[in-house]
Each structure stands twice: as C-alpha cells, then as structure tokens.
C-alpha cells in the first residue's frame, strides 16, 4: 500500500527539526554533527516550511498520482514510478528548464539558481524505513498514512 506524509498543523510547533533531519539524511556522512560542522555546501532541505503566527507546518513533495511536474517535464527527469508510487527526480537528465517548479501546485520543488537543475525535491527517503522528517518529528506533526 502506498503511503503518504500528512502534515498536522495543530501539532506543529515550528521547531524545524524535520528540515534538520532531511538535510542530515541527504548529507554525505548522514551524521548530524559531522554534516552540520564539516560539510559544505550542505544539501537543501526538501521541505517547505510555512509559518504565520502560531500556525506552522512543513510540506514536502506530495508524490501525486497524476503529477503535473511529470506531465510538463521536457526531458524525462521527473517520472512517476508506478511500482513505488513515488516521483523521483533524475538530475542527470535535467536541463534546468524549471517547468516543474512553475507547475507544481504545492511549490515544493526548489530551483538551483547557480546550476542548471533543481536544488531539492523530496525523494521520500526510499532507502529508509520511514522518511527522516516523519521519523524525527517530536510531536507527530508529520505522520505516514495509507493513501486512499
């Protein structure tokens, strides 16, 4: 069963640990201290953090069933893998046209303004049991649910 990450803003306190652990999980060492103290540049977090007053939540790629980024990708760098239900990004195929960024209704793909590709997009931490942001959220403000 395909699972998706759901944000519960009623439990989010805006600590942004999801971003810290997303960065760590995508760093070279995958160690929080080594990554933050010794790696430069650090990867960009794949989450978009929204905050206004007491309301906050973190959002990442929805891995849509019918993704606009895939429909509009001119190079095949964005594809939906039907076996996992995920939308992986293949940097080596990307030419940096940024159509995916323009069409994503959630604004969760971040551009790289120096290189011709995109800087970060959630890969659902496929090699982990649970995505790092979900695993490390202290309040269960990010949870995994069965996609219906």
């Amino acid at each position: 069963m395909v699972k998706k990450i759901v944000a519960r803003e009623e439990y989010c306190i805006g600590c942004r640990l999801c971003e810290v652990h997303c960065i760590t999980a995508h760093s070279k060492s995958r160690n929080i201290i080594k990554a933050y103290k010794g790696e430069f540049p650090l990867p960009e977090s794949a989450l978009v953090f929204e905050e206004k007053g007491a309301v906050s939540f973190a959002l990442q790629c929805r891995h849509c069933q019918d993704p606009l980024c895939v429909e509009n990708c001119i190079s095949g760098a964005m594809r939906r893998d039907p076996s996992t239900g995920r939308v992986p990004y293949q940097k080596e195929l990307c030419v940096g046209c940024w159509m995916c960024i323009m069409v994503c209704p959630f604004g969760v793909i971040k551009p790289d303004i120096t290189g011709h590709h995109i800087k970060s997009k959630c890969d659902f931490c496929l090699e982990r049991e649970k995505p790092a942001c979900v695993e490390h959220c202290p309040n269960e403000a990010l949870i995994l649910v069965e996609d219906t």
């Binding site: 429909e71 509009n72 990708c73 001119i74 190079s75 095949g76 030419v95 069409v103």
Partner: protein, 329 residues
C-alpha cells in the same frame, strides 16, 4: 513492426510528439486492449522538441532527447509507422497515407503540430545553404552539421519569440555569435509584459549578442548557393553565413481540408478535444481549444497545453468524459 497495410485499428493517432504520447497514456489508462496505431512523418521514435536547443548547444547527447524509455511503445502496445497522412474520409472512417494505402479507425486523433512559417523574403530559395528553421530534430541536426562543417561563427535569428530565442540560446551555447532581429519593439512580445521582456533583453545583450528591434529582413544575398548577408528593412546589411527563421508556426491542418471539420487558425475542438466531427479529436499545436479563462477558442503552442490536451483527448477517445476546463484533479 509494420506488417499489413490497409488495416483497421481502434485508435489512430497522427503525429508522435508530446500530445500523441500523452494521448497514448490517456487511452491506456482507460482501455488496455484496444489497438493503437501512430502514424508519424518523422523518422524518429520519441524525442522532446524543446530539448533540441540543448542538443544544438552540445549540452545533451542525441539519446538524451528521448523523454520516454525505449520500451514505451512496446509497453503501451502501440505500433508506430513512418508515413505521411494525406487525407481523411470522415464518413468511411479512413485515413489515406502517402503511399495510397489507407487505415480504418474507430477513433482518430489529429496531433500533427505546426510548421514554421516562412515569410516573403526576396532571394529566399529552399536550396540555398545556410537557411534553417528550428522546430524539429531534423532542423537541429541539419543546423548543427552546417555550423560544424562550415565553422560558422555568427548567425542571424529572425524572430524573437520562444523558438527564435531557443535557437539563439543553442547557438550561443555552441559558441556562435548571434544577431536577433525582431519586428516588434521588444522580444517575446506574446509571452511577457514590458518588464519581463526587458530582463530577457538585458540577458541577451549581456551574452554578447546583438538585438535589432522594429526591423525585419527584406532580402537575402547569396554567393555560390550559400547565404552571405541579409538586408534589413531599415537598409542595414548584416553579413552572415547562417540564418534561422523563427517568425511563427502554422498549424498542420491540411489533413482536414475537404472535410466538414471546422478550422480557424487551427482545428476547432470543444472542451473534450473533439472536433466538429464526432469520433475525431485534435490536440496539441494543431488544435484550437476553449481557453480556461474566457472559454473562447485559443491556440497556445507550448508543451504544457499539448501534454494536457493530448491526455484529455486520450481519455475521451477511450470513452471517459474529461474536460480541458476541469482543473479538479
């Protein structure tokens, strides 16, 4: 691959670019069994047209132009035949190919795209070497070969629309200096507001290119069959060994001539991408479909529109009602 001619298929698709590919996926999402045949004039299986500028500029290799896996057509159970669809019999439900063979269909999709418009220029002849358009892989291959063989250092691009500027971008990546000539008072006039045009103009000039606005080419001078210079309306003469013409595209709607299908600039379709003839659909750069905002027929020849119209045409061909105006995904 292509066994019997004069055959009958459930779904016939004319054209093999993004609208067609999305239509195949749309049909297959709803109908796994129906036979699909694609008729395309181009001798390439699957490639992305917007990538040709990157290919010209050596940013990507020939194989990287394919945006679907090589197994796509096999997995989708689609046959592809390289031929030109000449004419259409709406009553007998048949499409006649260039070799006089014909194919009967249950549902038809016309996704033939557009062709570059060649404006009236004195001295223009197809045989002249150094003259190019820039819309398909064939154009890019020819232009690239010409630049490499003749060590072209400077090229003129006529037209500063999306295609003209993509050509200019590819040429610059290739190390060719570019002069862009635009009839309007700014570049990308149909795409951007004044400020947007200004940003791109500044970037173009920063790249070392020359931009000439409010002007156009009136004649071409040749020497021994090759272009040597162009003369502008203002009288200015620009020496060049290469000219790329990108003043616009015209929908390839010739196939529906002498039928009852209504055309304007392109083939008129309703919100379900069906033409005025039931069972015949059109999508992509050849189709003029209702605009999301004012519901009037509009033709915006860009990838996202082609992808979406193709997909929705595919749904409707497979018998599921889908609308281009419906954005509740």
């Amino acid at each position: 691959m292509w066994r019997t001619l004069n055959m009958q298929v459930d779904y016939l698709i004319i054209g093999n670019s993004v609208a067609a590919v999305n239509a195949i996926e749309g049909v297959r999402e709803r109908d796994e069994k129906g036979s699909i045949l694609v008729v395309s004039e181009e001798p390439y299986e699957n490639y992305s047209r917007p990538l040709i500028s990157y290919f010209l500029g050596d940013r990507i290799k020939r194989q990287a132009l394919e945006y679907k896996d090589a197994s796509f057509y096999r997995e989708m159970k689609v046959e592809v035949v390289c031929a030109r669809a000449e004419s259409l019999d709406c009553i007998g439900k048949k499409v006649f190919l260039s070799d006089r063979k014909h194919i009967g269909y249950g549902k038809l999709l016309i996704a033939t795209g557009g062709s570059p418009v060649i404006p009236g220029i004195e001295g223009f002849a197809k045989e002249t070497s150094g003259l190019f358009t820039f819309s398909g892989l064939g154009d890019a291959l020819a232009l690239k070969q010409y630049i490499e063989e003749n060590a072209i250092e400077h090229a003129v691009v006529l037209g500063a629309g999306l295609i003209g500027l993509k050509a200019a971008e590819g040429l610059l990546m290739k190390g060719v200096k570019v002069t862009v000539i635009e009839l309007a008072d700014r570049i990308l006039p149909n795409t951007f507001d004044l400020r947007g045009s200004e940003i791109v103009e500044n970037e173009l000039i920063r790249s070392g290119s020359t931009l000439i606005k409010n002007d156009t080419i009136v004649s071409i001078q040749t020497h021994q069959g090759s272009i040597v210079s162009v003369t502008l309306k203002s009288g200015r003469v620009i020496e060049t060994g290469c000219l790329v013409i990108a003043v616009g595209v015209r929908p390839n709607s010739a196939i529906v001539q002498n039928t009852t299908i209504v055309t304007r600039r392109g083939i008129i379709v309703d919100e379900h991408l069906q033409t005025t003839e039931p069972g015949i659909f059109a999508a992509g750069d050849v189709a003029e479909c209702p605009d999301f905002f004012d519901r009037k027929p509009s033709l915006i020849a860009i990838w996202p529109v082609a992808a979406r119209t193709g997909r929705i045409a595919g749904f409707n061909m497979a018998g599921v009602t889908g609308s281009i105006l419906d954005f509740s995904r």
